[in-house]
């Protein structure tokens, strides 16, 4: 059988830089930082006291009180971003909803719900008084479930969980389902909302997060010599992927084509990246092979680049192994320097960033570059500090997760 072409026909985002795709893109292009002191809980005793929160968020601006209360924050973000993408794609009318699926990504699920319910139980006398909405709010798939219920989409529906690669995996899974003909349209992407006591405390214990409390906005500084860990972010990024003939037949606006996806595993350590970058070499090779393109055809890589001392270097080593001389012609940037790290939501918002970059011919920057890291090849173009104009025909989005999961997605400017 021949595989079908798949295009992107809708985008949605709620991020620390802005709560719609245009606001998010404006923040990216301006090189804005989304980091600030934590407001969601009292973090005064925590090693890290700042994060990239979605600013000015109130569920009451989006949901009737009763409805909002039944969704964990990560599901609220999922519904908000997917609503924007669904509206953008014009999916609500004239589409056979039996052929529309939802494949979402979340690394953790309802962490706040889980934490609060366990805390309530621990406070009591041992009598279980768990809320009936506890489990349905907490489980990661409540995100895709709620999106389908709200919109009546009866196609394939599930969630991928692979830590920080979760929503690139959901995008690749959606791409595969569509090219195999198992659905005509899939709402995909991912969300996370882990800025809670358990989330911040847990990542601090792993020594994975920046502790630059005196200057939060410069905490996330991928590829800078003095980087000291990632900055936790929250939010969601959504894409409507659609089989090309289906999109054409209904006259949908087409943002880009998805032409490849690659997956691999480090098989090395549960949290540390393989310093040789072998798993990351493999994932990019797999993605380029699936897309049927040569390395020198790629213009832009939106890297995983979380601002950790080990991870950033391993990814760059891998890029140089895969791209060779062509690496010097690439634009490389880590938009996590601005958004922070959305964990299971990262692949979603970074796919949106890559596609918007392609649309506008502008590469969003890696902000907060102060000092070159002598371990990194200075001849590479990291798009430091300021956006650069560039015609982007092909963009690659990389994400890697704890557990050693690696995923790369390849987008191409759409041509009939």
């Amino acid at each position: 059988m021949s595989l079908r072409r798949v295009v992107v026909t809708g985008l949605g985002a709620i991020t620390p830089l802005g709560s719609t795709v245009p606001a998010y893109w404006e923040g990216l292009r301006a090189g804005k930082s989304g980091a600030a002191p934590i407001t969601r809980f009292d973090a005064s005793k925590f090693k890290t006291r700042f994060a990239c929160e979605v600013k000015g968020y109130s569920p009451d601006n989006y949901f009737p009180t009763k409805e909002g209360r039944k969704m964990d924050l990560f599901t609220q973000f999922a519904v908000i971003a997917s609503d924007e993408a669904i509206k953008d794609a014009g999916l609500l009318e004239g589409v056979n909803k039996d052929r529309v699926g939802v494949i979402w990504g979340s690394g953790i699920g309802g962490l706040k719900t889980f934490q609060d319910e366990c805390f309530n139980f621990a406070k009591g006398d041992g009598t279980p008084r768990y809320n009936p909405f506890f489990i349905p709010k907490m489980i990661a798939d409540s995100s895709s479930g709620n999106i389908s219920i709200k919109n009546g989409f009866r196609g394939p529906n599930f969630v991928t969980t692979s830590a920080c690669a979760s929503s690139s995996d959901s995008i690749v899974a959606a791409y595969n389902f569509l090219r195999l003909g198992m659905a005509d349209v899939i709402v995909t992407g991912g969300s996370e909302a882990a800025i809670t006591e358990a989330g911040v405390g847990g990542f601090n214990a792993l020594k994975a997060m920046s502790e630059r409390n005196d200057d939060p906005e410069t905490g996330s500084r991928p590829y800078d010599k003095d980087r000291d860990g990632f900055v936790l972010g929250e939010g969601a990024g959504a894409l409507v992927l659609e089989e090309y003939e289906h999109a054409k037949a209904r006259g949908a606006k087409i943002y880009a084509e998805i032409i490849g996806g690659g997956l691999s595993s480090d098989a090395y350590h549960i949290t540390a990246p393989d310093p040789t970058g072998e798993g990351v070499v493999l994932v990019m090779q797999n993605a380029l092979r699936d897309a049927g393109i040569r390395p020198d055809e790629v213009d832009y890589i939106n890297t995983h680049g979380t601002s950790t001392p080990l991870g950033d270097g391993a990814e760059i080593t891998a890029i140089q192994k895969v791209f060779g001389e062509a690496a010097y012609n690439l634009n490389i940037s880590s938009t996590k320097s601005m958004t922070g790290h959305l964990l299971g939501g990262a692949g979603g918002i970074e796919a949106v960033a890559s596609i918007m970059a392609m649309q506008h011919g502008i590469v969003p920057p890696t902000i907060n570059h102060f000092t070159d890291d002598p371990e990194l090849d200075a001849r590479l173009n990291f798009t430091f500090n300021k956006a650069q104009e560039r015609e982007i025909n092909i963009a690659v989005s990389n994400t890697f997760g704890f557990g050693g999961h690696n995923t790369s997605v390849v987008f191409r400017k759409f041509r009939d």
Partner: protein, 78 residues
Amino acid sequence: MSEIAEKVKAIIIDKLGVEASEVTPEASFTNDLGADSLDTVELIMEFEKEFNVSIPDDQAENIGTVGQAISYLEEHAK
């Protein structure tokens, strides 16, 4: 209206997101106030917490309207 009835009404308004005027004694949680089976469980739990009672499942099944909740709690609340 008794203090218990006032509290019961307030819980129902909060949990089900309905208007005070809809919370009449005859109003059924599921048929009139938009509750699903999980909302009903949550309501019973809130009543238990607020009034410091334990409502056995077989009795909870008979609490389907605002009035039934008030009568049960007026009888059993400590």
